[in-house]
Symmetry: C2
Subunit: 153 residues, 2 copies
DNA sequence: CAGAATTAGTTGCGCACGCAACCACTTGGG
DNA sequence: CCCAAGTGGTTGCGTGCGCAACTAATTCTG
């Protein structure tokens, strides 16, 4: 008598939350990247660096890596690209000459103030498919999951 | 008189839903991959192929690509790896000799029936940080967002 | 029924990523 | 004060990815 190997142990990828969450994140990211990729020629790491530096002038690559949770090499390369395009500039920190303070250039600031409202509008537009109450419930769930996984802050 | 360029246009990456969603998906995926990577030596594409084939014996690479939303080359390579490890096997379809029907081998089935319960337990354990009501609200939000982005099914 | 268009699947190529090693600089302990 | 340990940042290397081009088989069309 052999063990009955059911083809269905209760896993259907389409209904599996980790899989759905990944698919949703990719979908949202694509929806958003239409703006920063096609209209501004930024990829994801570059966009995140722009977003971070835009609200934390003079921050370090270290800070960007921590707050975006990107690997430091990914940050380093994104910064290098943005510097080539003259959207950001760097100066060694006086206090610690290992550090380099990152700032938007004039052109970078122009892009930032044009880009951010478009991106926020896209977020608003996406979330508009939920009622206030549904949004509250969704965000509450996200926060609990984030904190369960130690992602909060 | 220059335009006041506020450093704060209302974008704080840490509170930006697309960014948080991506971070959460990565976190959940890492939490899960501890199981299928470290204990079974599978990477993400391989795990998805195993999961799909396990519940759809004899399906094609085409079907796997559609239902996991992975690029067909990614599927093709994952299948090749799994075949090398003798976890799956392929046979040309009689009806259409371009197609190759994919099935788990005995070893593959053994892995599948061991792996799936562990993975489902991880999901359950993760979602246990939400009450029934909170989970309902979170899933409802996910469904609406999925359908807004055309990801449903 | 022959040739064009389409589809399943594989492969060559260029690119982005993460790891580990590295350089330059700073900090801490004897 | 000096050397060891630690930190910010960059780079070489191997790997996995998607695109585009390809092969083989099928379907559509006149």
């Amino acid at each position: 008598m052999s063990i009955r190997v059911s083809s269905e142990l209760g896993l259907e990828l389409a209904g599996f939350v980790p899989y759905r969450l990944n698919r949703l994140a990719v979908g949202v990211s694509n929806h958003l990247s239409d703006i920063y990729r096609e209209r501004f020629g930024l990829d994801v790491p570059e966009w995140r660096v722009m977003a971070t530096v835009g609200s934390r002038h003079g921050c370090t690559a270290q800070h960007i890596a921590e707050s975006t949770r990107m690997h430091k090499t990914r940050v380093s390369r994104a910064i290098a690209h943005l510097e080539e395009r003259e959207l950001i500039e760097r100066a060694s920190s006086a206090a610690d000459r290992r550090e380099r303070e990152v700032r938007l250039t004039k052109a970078g600031r122009r892009m930032y103030v044009e880009l951010v409202p478009l991106v926020l509008e896209r977020e608003r537009e996406l979330l508009a498919c939920l009622t206030k109450e549904q949004l509250r419930g969704f965000l509450a769930g996200m926060e609990l999951l984030e904190s369960f996984l130690g992602l909060q802050e």
